[in-house]
Symmetry: C2
Subunit: 342 residues, 2 copies
């Protein structure tokens, strides 16, 4: 059906080897035969079969990305960073997402075998044993935001702990003496680390801070529910720090709707700095994770491992987060120590 290299060879009256050479521009072919081959290839609308080529060259010029999701503010940004860096290096992207359990993730990872030169992996189902079973040692991989500590893999992580700690300190410095923290879903690594940062900041503070932990699940709705509850009570914390922006926004809008003023009555802070954070009113003070930057770095590390498979350069990086001060905490940027406004 489709036209192959043999068809071109036959029509151009040369061997397939010559067609291959002419098309790849590599080795010695006469200008005459080369141009004849190119003409025939164009006429037949020949398009090389990438998979067949990969099979023998051992290069796919493709990286795989195993992600929990493809959409939403966070992943959109992450993919953007990955894509930018991949394009700059002429790499394609094979994506796989939304694996409900470890088996699905394993199937996805295995299906990539032979189709990618390396893997970018971010998944709650991944641990060292999982990788050992489903990823050949010969395939380079970079782990994103995982708890796995394996010397064979480079890892890149969000500074959940440090970011949460810095934000909590910022709230304390701003004068708040009772602070509530809204958690993410149970078992979520990022959420747990952010909570830990909050608690350590409270515990190590020189001042006495009343703290409280409220349960959320990262969804806007869970924030909303908390906001409504808070609006209906009289004993509100002075500040509320949500483990992600969507909950902070849901909570803030529900509070305002319930007649509570933000930031005058309650200060609100989030985590992530998703694009919406600067569009809500008041603008949301939050911890900025340079998500796209994270994706870009991850891809570049992976690419360098693909190019130099021997260089044992497994590293663990955790780029610092920064607090972005907006109106929802009722503080001018200048008053914040060591932070940077948008």
């Amino acid at each position: 059906m489709a036209v192959t290299i043999r068809d071109v060879a036959r029509e151009a009256k040369v061997s397939v080897a010559s067609v291959s050479r002419a098309l790849n521009g590599n080795t010695n072919v006469t200008d005459a035969t080369r141009s004849r081959i190119l003409r025939v290839a164009a006429r037949l609308r020949y398009i090389p079969h990438s998979a067949a080529r990969s099979l023998i060259t051992r290069r796919t010029h493709t990286v795989g990305a195993l992600l929990p999701d493809l959409f939403g503010e966070f992943f959109s940004e992450l993919i953007r960073g990955i894509d930018l860096a991949a394009r700059a290096r002429g790499l394609h992207l094979l994506v796989s997402s939304s694996h409900g359990n470890a088996n699905e993730a394993a199937a996805a990872l295995r299906a990539m075998q032979g189709r990618v030169d390396g893997m970018l992996i971010m998944s709650p189902h991944v641990d060292a044993d999982f990788l050992h079973r489903n990823l050949p040692d010969s395939v380079p991989a970079v782990l994103l935001n995982t708890a796995v500590k394996d010397a064979r893999y480079s890892t890149l992580s969000i500074d959940n702990y440090g970011g949460a700690r810095t934000m909590t300190q910022h709230l304390i410095d701003a004068g708040h003496r009772s602070i509530a923290f809204v958690t993410g879903p149970d078992g979520n690594y990022d959420a747990a680390e952010r909570l830990r940062g909050f608690q350590d900041a409270i515990a190590s503070s020189k001042r006495k801070i009343a703290s409280e932990v409220l349960r959320g699940d990262f969804s806007e709705e869970s924030g909303q529910a908390i906001g409504r509850r808070l609006a209906a009570t009289k004993t509100r914390p002075q500040a509320l720090f949500a483990a992600n922006d969507m909950m902070a926004i849901g909570c803030m809008l529900a509070l305002i709707e319930g007649g509570v003023r933000v930031p005058e009555d309650v200060a609100i802070a989030g985590f992530d700095d998703i694009p919406i954070a600067r569009f809500v009113h008041p603008g949301l003070t939050t911890v900025r994770v340079r998500i796209a930057e994270l994706g870009r770095s991850a891809l570049e590390q992976l690419a360098s491992q693909v190019e130099a498979p021997d260089a044992k350069t497994a590293s663990a990086q955790t780029p610092r987060c920064e607090v972005v001060v907006r109106a929802s905490c009722g503080q001018s940027a200048a008053a914040a120590r060591g932070t940077k406004p948008l």
Copy 2:
């Protein structure tokens, strides 16, 4: 380096054919030999080479997506729809984006050859001749939002014209007698169709409407610039309809910052209904494009073409858009005819 089917065959003391059969669970293999093979395969951590398998089965279980971008509100939603439908059918996604020109797009499309069972194509660089040169007739493709009319390809389009026309009529019905339209970038098909819808609605209106066309480029900044200009003048239109939401939002925020009230002084409407639209203050009245739905439909059409290559079912669909009424036009949902609130 990597373990292959031959290694498993040797260790299990069978032929590669038997290993293949056992692993694919297809044909007749004794339970004894099958379990022995499976045991050996697990011990050696054998993972089949998908590309090699595809070469002979002629099935990759992967669809390619050629998109202008991977990120941003619009594409994030589109990919979400595509991904959901692909996952439901066990298909992988090979994506390629951000092609600055036709040559880059051609290279991307060609590189997919042999790695995908079909293509989802959305690109400003694509026309019938382009497809003829860079896509074998044997590869099914579904075109998204393109001007190409080729009986060989199914197309799925956003109802830019109808949506813009309905929104314009909505503004007229709301009593606005002078309306400005903010265009998208030159040469952009969606932008041109939206402008055409606006102009036709104005032209065919029974009432006399003063209209004006302002130049934007789909960016928030271009909307901002227009908003600032409008805030500084006295001769403002009663309503402003931007060709996309980001411009509408940029314009709205700049107007408000300049002391102009929205919707009291100027009503504002956008196009797309990106997630941010309901978070800005006031909420943005806009045309909802069911983006994820578009992606889902496109993938399902493609999948059915892949499964039944002969069924010549090329179709052209244009799902209707709907006007979503929020506060930025100063009208209650009930007052809008034939529209649906969020």
